[in-house]
């Protein structure tokens, strides 16, 4: 019998702890597939964040480091600089990790043009801690620390990471994709492939932001969560390529 589909060997067989309808699984698989397809599965180090993806080191089937909250880009910097340009390095971070507590680390890694790839999961909420407001929470969106919905006068405004990082020299490639549809997932894989290729070509800092779901903390069904990504999130966070140095 012909094999028509098989799971990438860059993922372990460990059962995932992610909630039903969460797109972390999709993002993991795409990342793993791209690394394998590029032929780097035995020449790659990943960095796991603090947040829902903290256990990423259990799932990616390669050398992994678990970083302190927000510090994955600094850890990835240390790894990449000592291992050299021929080893692929990636950091996998959520929105609280990257856009709040770790803002300095991501901005300065980008400005230095650190030659690694960041997978940025933006689901507009703190998932692991139970649904608190994130730096990327939409205006009006409810969270356990802004229960009437995010009010800019009280809670500030959403941070647009791709737009911000694209202004920095040293950034080679920044794209935002949305995991709310099959088309979006396909685009996400193309974006990841590009990002890792640019890293292999030593072009500099690369980041792919993935608009993601959190049905549990959004209090939605998986289907409603997908619709929310496609209808609400994309209004504030339009997908697209924000910077590409060819």
């Amino acid at each position: 019998m012909a094999t028509v589909f098989k799971k990438t060997s860059m993922l372990t067989d460990a059962p995932s702890h992610y909630c039903p309808g969460c797109t972390h699984g999709v993002a993991h698989r795409l990342t793993a597939e791209v690394i394998e397809e590029l032929g780097y599965k035995e020449n790659v180090v990943g960095v796991a964040p603090v947040g829902c993806a903290v256990f990423a080191y259990n799932y990616f089937n390669c050398d992994m480091q678990q970083a302190a909250h927000g510090r994955a880009p600094a850890v990835a910097t240390g790894i990449k600089r000592v291992l050299g340009e021929d080893t692929l390095v990636f950091a996998y971070q959520g929105d609280g990790d990257l856009a709040s507590i770790g803002l300095a680390e991501i901005v300065h890694s980008a400005a230095r043009g650190e030659n690694f790839t960041v997978i940025f999961i933006n689901n507009a909420i703190y998932g692991m801690t139970g649904g608190q407001m994130a730096p990327t929470t939409l205006l009006g969106q409810k969270a356990t620390t802004c229960q009437a919905g995010r009010d800019p006068k009280v809670n500030g405004n959403p941070i647009k990471i791709c737009e911000m990082l694209s202004t920095l020299d040293g950034v080679a490639y920044v794209e935002r994709v949305a995991l709310g549809s099959v088309g979006g997932i396909r685009k996400a894989k193309r974006a990841l492939t590009k990002a890792f290729k640019y890293q292999i070509e030593k072009k500099g800092f690369t980041l792919v932001e993935m608009l993601s779901t959190c049905p549990t903390n959004w209090r939605m069904t998986p289907k409603q969560a997908m619709d929310y990504v496609n209808e609400e999130m994309q209004k504030i966070y339009p997908p697209g390529v924000f910077k590409e140095v060819k």
Partner: protein, 352 residues
């Protein structure tokens, strides 16, 4: 051949000779000569230097580099070391070897830029969260600092712990004639099978981590850390006894105050007062047995501890002396340094 070097620069060169090939730092007085020196020297030896965006980033770069197998180091001074505490806790939890230099200034807060010893508790009791310790040295001369940091990476690798060099502004800024040891050959360093070099895959993959959700697992890890500290306490303790053989008054001090106290002992001896100096070189593990030995001696009348703080090491001295002899304390802070005459005067007021 001896060369005249500033403490900070001599320490930086000795670190490179000892195998350091990755340095990450952020400017803060009075340690700036270390990153400045490293920024020139690292490229010459094929190493990595980054001036990071913060002390927080620097220590996490050390985490990444050490986890990938490099001999990595950072340096800072008190407020900056406070910022590194999160990273130090993770480094201890993940059992990563590295070297951290703290050229201590005065606190709390922004404090001042003059020498201080107020970071003793932070260094030896675990300044970050959780149960951990660091192999901590308090050198008193530039030569001693050079010799310690030269071997510090070997110790860090042996135990997979961070090694802290607890200096102070004086040690960093003073110029002394020092003998810088020869370059160690990296080929002789132990192989790090646990390091994430990128070559691991499937069964051979390595994970650098400090997260253990199951209580039994975390307890086992913590026990393993403390088993290592126990071995360190058996093998690594260093202290200098100076004229303590027949001493009735044991002066005790570490770091630059230790060398000042040595001058005080000489003056007191000239005046016929039987004083001696017990100077801890390792601050963790603490030379507890040295104190116990002296405390048990009938001719020893008292211990007198001198520090540039309101009294931190004195607590470990008292725990070690265990009430067997009176233990007095004299401290200066704010950047004021204790003089030999201060010590002589303090001791003489107790000997009537």
């Amino acid at each position: 051949m001896k060369v005249l070097m500033k403490g900070n620069e001599a320490i930086a060169e000795a670190a490179i000779r000892g195998g350091c090939r990755a340095f990450f730092g952020y400017p803060i007085t009075p340690q700036n000569e270390i990153p400045e020196y490293m920024s020139c020297r690292m490229p010459q030896v094929g190493g990595v230097f980054i001036q990071s965006e913060s002390e927080v980033a620097a220590i996490n770069m050390v985490y990444g580099a050490a986890g990938a197998g490099a001999r990595a180091m950072t340096s800072s001074s008190s407020p900056g070391i406070s910022l590194k505490q999160e990273g130090i806790s993770y480094i201890c939890g993940a059992e990563l070897p590295c070297v951290i230099v703290n050229m201590v200034r005065c606190g709390p807060g922004l404090g001042g830029i003059q020498p201080g010893q107020g970071d003793y508790f932070q260094a030896v009791k675990g300044g970050g969260h959780g149960d951990y310790r660091m192999l901590t040295y308090g050198p008193s001369t530039v030569q001693e600092a050079v010799d310690i940091i030269y071997d510090a990476f070997d110790k860090a690798d042996e135990y997979r712990v961070p090694v802290m060099i607890l200096g102070d502004g004086m040690l960093g800024q003073i110029m002394e004639a020092v003998e810088i040891p020869p370059m160690k050959d990296p080929a002789t360093f132990p192989k790090k099978e646990w390091a994430t070099t990128g070559k691991g895959y499937g069964d051979t993959r390595r994970i650098i981590n400090s997260l253990y959700i199951k209580p039994d697992e975390l307890e086992e890890v913590t026990n393993r850390l403390f088993d290592k500290y126990k071995i360190m306490a058996e093998r690594e303790v260093m202290a200098e006894n100076y004229m303590t053989d027949d001493a009735e008054i044991i002066i005790t001090a570490y770091g630059t105050v230790g060398r000042i106290a040595k001058s005080a002992v000489n003056i007191l001896r000239e005046e016929g007062i039987k004083a001696g100096l017990l100077r801890p070189i390792t601050l963790y593990p603490f030379p507890e047995k040295e104190y116990k030995k002296l405390a048990q001696r009938k001719d020893v009348k008292m211990f007198y501890c001198f520090e540039l703080s309101m009294g931190q090491m004195v607590e470990d001295v008292r725990l070690s002396v265990d009430g067997k002899k009176p233990t007095l304390f004299y401290g200066r802070t704010g950047g004021n340094v204790i003089s030999p005459e201060d010590i002589v005067k303090a001791v003489k007021s107790e000997v009537k």
